[in-house]
C-alpha cells in the first residue's frame, strides 16, 4: 500500500483554503426575521419594532375614527433626528404610513409638506393646473391630522457594559392644534465595551 506523505494531505487542504477563500459568505436574510444583525447602532429592525408598536397604539386608540369623513387625511410633519447618526426618518414614517393606509383609516397627502415643499411636486403641479382650468376654484382639502415626532439617543456605560437607548416619540395633532394621540417607544441594547472607542 502506498505510504501517505504529508503532501498527500497538504495539497487538498491548501486547495480548499484557496478556493474557499474566494467564495463570499454573504447570504440573504429576512429583513423582518430573527436572524438580522444586532448592532449598537440604530438599524432596520429598530425602525420596524417602533413602527409596529406605534401603529398598534394608534389603531387601538380610536383617534383616527373621529373625523366626520373617513378615511382621515394625514400630512407628515417634521420628525427630528436627535441621534448621533445620520438616519433617514422615512424608515420610520413610511412603515407607519403604509400600515395606516392598509388599515383603511388614513390617506396620506403627498402634496403638502413643511415650508410648502411637496413630497410629490408633480402631483402638486397637476392639482394646481386642475384648479386653474376649473371654472370654480375649490380650496385644497386640508389634512385632518399631522404626524410629528422625534428620535432620541441616550448612551450609558458602567463596568465595561455599554448601553444605548433609542427613544421614538410621535404625536398626532388635529386641526385645532391638539395632540389627540401620543406615544413613545424605547429600545435599549447592551454590549461589552470595546478596548478602543465606545
Amino acid at each position: 500500500m502506498m505510504k501517505k506523505t504529508p503532501r498527500f494531505y497538504l495539497i487538498p487542504l491548501l486547495s480548499s483554503i484557496v478556493i474557499g477563500g474566494c467564495a463570499t459568505h454573504t447570504r440573504y436574510v429576512e429583513p423582518t426575521g430573527p436572524r438580522t444583525l444586532v448592532t449598537s447602532e440604530i438599524n432596520i429592525q429598530d425602525f420596524s419594532y417602533a413602527a409596529e408598536d406605534m401603529v398598534k397604539s394608534l389603531l387601538v386608540s380610536g383617534s383616527l375614527d373621529k373625523t366626520p369623513v373617513q378615511p382621515a387625511v394625514l400630512a407628515i410633519s417634521r420628525i427630528v433626528n436627535n441621534t448621533t447618526q445620520q438616519i433617514d426618518t422615512d424608515m420610520l414614517t413610511k412603515k407607519i404610513r403604509v400600515a395606516l393606509n392598509q388599515s383603511g383609516k388614513v390617506l396620506t397627502t403627498t402634496t403638502m409638506g413643511i415650508g410648502g415643499i411637496a413630497e410629490d411636486p408633480l402631483a402638486k403641479d397637476i392639482q394646481q393646473e386642475k384648479e386653474f382650468y376649473a371654472d370654480k376654484k375649490e380650496p385644497q382639502p386640508l389634512p385632518d391630522y399631522t404626524l410629528s415626532g422625534k428620535i432620541i439617543e441616550k448612551r450609558d456605560s458602567q463596568n465595561k457594559i455599554r448601553q444605548v437607548a433609542y427613544i421614538f416619540q410621535l404625536s398626532l395633532t388635529d386641526g385645532r392644534g391638539l395632540a389627540v394621540w401620543e406615544d413613545e417607544k424605547q429600545i435599549a441594547k447592551q454590549g461589552k465595551q470595546s478596548l478602543i472607542g465606545w
Binding site: P34, S48, L59, D65, K94
Partner: protein, 141 residues
Amino acid sequence: MQKTIWLLTGFLMSTAMVFSSCTTVNTVGRETPVGTRQMIADKRVITDATLNRKVSIVGLNENTTSGGFLQVQIELLNQRNSLQEFSYNFEWFDMNGMLINTPASVWIPRHIEGREALTITAVAPTTTAKDFRVKFIENVR
C-alpha cells in the same frame, strides 16, 4: 488534601453560577379580578419542545377594538428560574384564509425574567383580518 480543595472550589463556583443567573419575579394582584377575559381555545404546534418547556403559553385572550380591529393578547409564563430570550411574530389572515402582508409584521425579540408572566399584544393590520397565527422562536442572535 488537594482533591478536597478542588472539590470545594468546584462546588462554590457552581453554586455562585446557579445563584447569579437565577432571579425570579414575585407578583401580586387583585384576588378576584374585576375584568373578564375572553379566552379562546387554541391549537398548538410544538416543534421546539425545549422552548415550550422554558416559556409556555398560558392562554389567548381576544377583543375587538372600537375601530373594528381584532386585538389578541397572549399570556406567557417563564417556567424556569433564569432569564429567557425569545422572538415572536404575528401573522394575520382574512376571511378567505389569505395572509395579509403588512410592513409592521416583524419578529419581535423579548426577554422574560425567571418565573415571570408576560403578556404580548397585537392588533390586526386591517378590519378584514379574522384569524391569526403566532410563531415563537428562541433568539438566534
